[in-house]
Amino acid sequence: MKIVRREHRVLVQGITGKQGTFWTEHMQAYGTKIVGGVNPKKAGTEHCGVPVYGSAKDAMEGGGFDATVMFIPALGVKAAAMDAIEAGAKTVVCLTEHIPVQDVMYFMAAAKEHGTTVIGPNTAGSATIDECFLGFMPVFNDRIFKKGNVGVMSRSGSLATLMCQNIVSAGYGQTAFLGIGGDPVLGTTTRDAIEALDSFEGTEVIVMVGEIGGSMEEDAAEYVATMDKPVVAFIAGGAAPPGKKMGHAGAIVMGDKGTYASKKKALEAAGVNVLATPSHVGDALKEAFGAIKQASRGVP
């Protein structure tokens, strides 16, 4: 997958709604190149200073776009995503929560065939610091996001916000952020996100924010073991009771699957520094950057 940059043309599906409008304005102010929006009922009009199209297909034929971000209700996402994928979107950011999983698998299959990257569902989106963002992360708040050398990925938007604030208050900053979402079936996995951040220019350390449920952290650990860059992780849900969905549909421990212990073990075996609490991220980064500095001086 490729992380969306400032030169990429972005479409907003559902641009005319309350949230669509609010966040489009924020995205524009930050630097995201919004080239249009979609609302079949308002095709031909203008909103937030950009043309509104009847469909993503029309938008592609009109001015073209690279990525799309959807502010669409759960039961409408399948059709909107199929529209964008078939129109040739390179990236589809799917923010919506509570989309039926069979709908998600449907447009995932189409995305795979068309070579489209899906981010989400149930995510706060992605951001490239000082360039652009797609979704609703508070990237414009400079106590939370600041240009630096840490790549951050997360299954949770709220927890990522906290983690990013801790990173900035410790004196560091980020290159890019990838929110992959809290659903069980996701377009971009933890491993995909870490691979993308690993190859993103300027990234020296990666912070992984995971949670209980599924096996994405374990899968990612296999890749992390092959990396040169240090990885720091926090896994949420260690205190969660088994068998309960902890707010996110994907955050559930079933039997011995998806447990905190299994994830911590796999990550530590891959050399990851697994934090006891998010407040420890500053110290962990200090250690990681210290090690990089020593290595660059040739100190063993």
């Binding site: 069979q102 996701l186 902890m246 609490t277 407040s279």
Partner: protein
């Protein structure tokens, strides 16, 4: 949401899969009466969990008296925390062989997977571990579906006593039922080959995708929702995700990840969270209700409020919090950690209306709440 056997089997029947005749009984007499129409029967506990047989919840009855006795024993029995309130009384089937069949959502392939095994009757987890070579799997392109050719390929080479075609047809119907009903899991275990060569579903497990409930209104009322406490039911009615826990440190936060983490950090500092209560996402305007809920749990000794605004704005959540606090005037100590969208406004509101500052980070806020709950200095 899980469906018990009696509610799951009609889903199969509607797709054209054979199921044994049966009657739902809430008392021993009704179970006994069933024998008159069904002949010898199996009396099966109806609870939304597996391992009913091992727990003694499935018994054979040749006569009405036996059916009555078994039903009397099974009703009221506790199986994995579920008290049995009803039994499914089903005609006896002539079992020649037992197979396993299922369709489920697979996060790894991001597609439905149809599964078949000749090792029916066992738990799928056991089959997967003990004899993985006997578990056949077919990922499906959900846009194209699972046709008879794909089903034949899945059972190809299995010696199924001339029933390969009938089994393949059943798998196709099973997949159709899975699609039509927004299943996350639809499982037949065992899928039985009868002495006469028929194929029937002897048991069925159906789990409906919670996100599909809205468009499955016809079947949804037949499901068995999770048993909720009074406060959890209140949360559901209000659209707030609330899970009641054993501890005494109440937690109010926004977002699933942040709320889970707040619980973790309370635990890390030696405390016990009283609840999971998330007012993030679409629920971020519901802080007033959230505060009332977390305080209504008996035995709560302190409260930690952890807001980290992204989509959810701290100022909106803080307004909701303060509204509830000013109305209830609770005595319990409360500690704050506030960051993200709208944080400065929220911090000023807190200072102006309660005269307090947030703690520097969530560790400090959680630790203070834990200390307060233990009666120590905060």
């Amino acid at each position: 949401m899980n469906f018990e056997e009696y509610a799951a089997k009609p889903i199969l029947a509607a797709a054209g899969i054979n199921v044994p005749k049966g009657i739902l009984a809430h008392d021993p007499d009704a179970a006994a009466d069933a024998v008159a129409t069904l002949g010898p029967v199996v009396v099966k506990a109806q609870v939304p969990t597996g391992k009913r047989g091992k727990a003694g919840g499935i018994q054979l009855a040749q006569t009405a008296d036996e059916a009555r006795t078994h039903a009397a024993n099974i009703l009221g029995m506790t199986i994995a925390t579920h008290v049995v309130e009803k039994v499914w009384v089903e005609e006896l089937s002539d079992i020649a062989r037992e197979f396993y069949a299922a369709v489920l959502n697979d996060p790894t392939t991001k597609s439905p997977v149809v599964m078949f095994s000749t090792e029916g009757g066992m738990d799928i987890e056991e089959i997967a571990v003990d004899t993985p070579e006997k578990l056949r799997k077919a990922p499906v392109d959900i846009r194209k579906g699972f046709d008879i050719a794909a089903a034949r390929a899945l059972v190809d080479g299995e010696a199924l006593d001339d029933a390969n075609e009938a089994i393949a047809e059943t798998l196709v119907k099973l997949y159709e039922a899975y699609r039509a009903n927004d299943a996350e899991l639809l499982e037949i275990n065992p899928l039985v080959l009868t002495g006469a060569g028929g194929v029937i579903a002897l048991d069925c497990k159906f789990s409906l995708d919670d996100s599909g409930i809205k468009r499955q209104q016809e079947i949804a009322p037949n499901g068995t929702p999770d048993k909720l406490t009074e406060l959890e039911t209140r949360g559901e009615d209000l659209g707030i995700k609330y899970i009641e826990l054993e501890g005494d440190v109440a937690v109010l936060a926004n977002g699933a990840g942040l709320t889970m983490t707040t619980m973790d950090v309370v635990r890390h500092h030696g405390g016990n969270p009283a609840n999971f209560c998330e007012i993030g996402g679409e629920a971020y305007t519901k802080a007033t209700d959230g505060v009332k809920m977390v305080l209504d749990k008996p035995g709560v000794k302190s409260l930690v409020v952890n807001f980290c605004g992204a989509f959810a704005r701290c100022d909106v959540m803080m307004e909701g919090f303060l509204t509830a606090w000013e109305e209830l005037k609770p005595e319990i100590p409360v500690f704050f950690s506030i960051a993200g969208t709208g944080d400065l406004v929220a911090i000023k509101m807190l200072k102006d209306r309660m005269g307090v500052d947030p703690l520097p980070d969530m560790d400090a806020a959680c630790k203070a709440a834990v200390d307060a709950a233990k009666g120590g200095a905060s």
